[in-house]
């Protein structure tokens, strides 16, 4: 079975541009979460979506938005890019939410560089 897939693998943008990152969860998983990982740090939670609804939002500005589609894939959009948005963006899927378990499976990430 395929794991979590993300596209593109790498992306280079300039300040002020907009970017869309894509994620396909493991088949049967209905929950998708997005994380930002700056070099040398642990991932920071951005969003969680479950059954196409936003279920959680981290401490990120409104320039960050996301959505989940009927097939449970997801997109993360970032507007008005800043140099500080350069990071590895990780998508994780899990089979459920709202329980005491939250075993997430991560994709390989999208490396975004903002020049």
């Amino acid at each position: 079975d395929a794991g979590v897939t993300q596209s593109p693998t790498h992306l280079i943008k300039t300040r002020g541009q907009q970017v869309t990152l894509r994620c396909s969860p493991i088949s049967g998983h209905k929950s998708v979460s997005w994380y930002q990982q700056v070099l040398g740090q642990g991932p920071q939670f951005i969003f969680q979506y479950y059954e196409k609804e936003e279920r959680g939002r981290g401490n990120f500005p409104d320039r960050f938005s996301a959505r989940q589609f009927p097939n449970y894939s997801s997109e993360l959009n970032v507007n008005a890019l800043l140099l500080g948005d350069s990071a590895l963006y990780l998508c994780a899927s899990s089979s459920r939410t709202g329980s005491s378990y939250n075993e997430q499976f991560f994709g390989p990430g999208t490396r975004l560089t903002v020049l």
Binding site: V4, S31, S33, Y35, G40, Q41, G42, P43, Q44, F45, Q48, R55, G56, G58, L90, A92, T97, G98, S99, S100, Y101, N102, E103, Q104, F105, F106, G107, P108, G109, R111
Partner: protein, 111 residues
């Protein structure tokens, strides 16, 4: 704000040595996960601990969840070069299962 502090931040040891990584918080978590991440890849789940005081073993790795579910430790016995990587703890809690990651421990095992 939930914070997870890991120590040490960096660890460079010789093959065959033992080591312990700590993950501490002032917050209570409903579950805690440990991940290993290699450069350019996403984190890979190693274990989930749920019950206070729980101990889980995965070959040479031993994971423990604190009695109060605020802290955890990862002990590696006879480290191998293949254990090299970034070790992350992550705590889950809250109604929407927001996951808070620790600051990470970068381990290098020298042959």
């Amino acid at each position: 704000t939930q914070l997870l502090e890991q120590s040490p931040q960096f660890l460079s040891i010789q093959e065959g040595e033992n080591l312990t990584v700590y993950c501490n918080s002032s917050s209570v978590f409903s579950s805690l996960q440990w991940y290993r991440q290699e450069p350019g890849e996403g984190p890979v789940l190693l274990v989930t601990v749920v019950t206070g005081g729980e101990v889980k073993k995965l070959k040479r790795l031993t994971f423990q969840f604190g009695d109060a579910r605020k802290d955890s430790s990862l002990h590696i016995t006879a480290a191998q070069p293949g254990d090299t990587g970034l070790y992350l703890c992550a705590g889950a809690g809250g109604g929407y299962q927001k996951v808070t990651f620790g600051t990470g421990t970068k381990l290098q095992v020298i042959p």
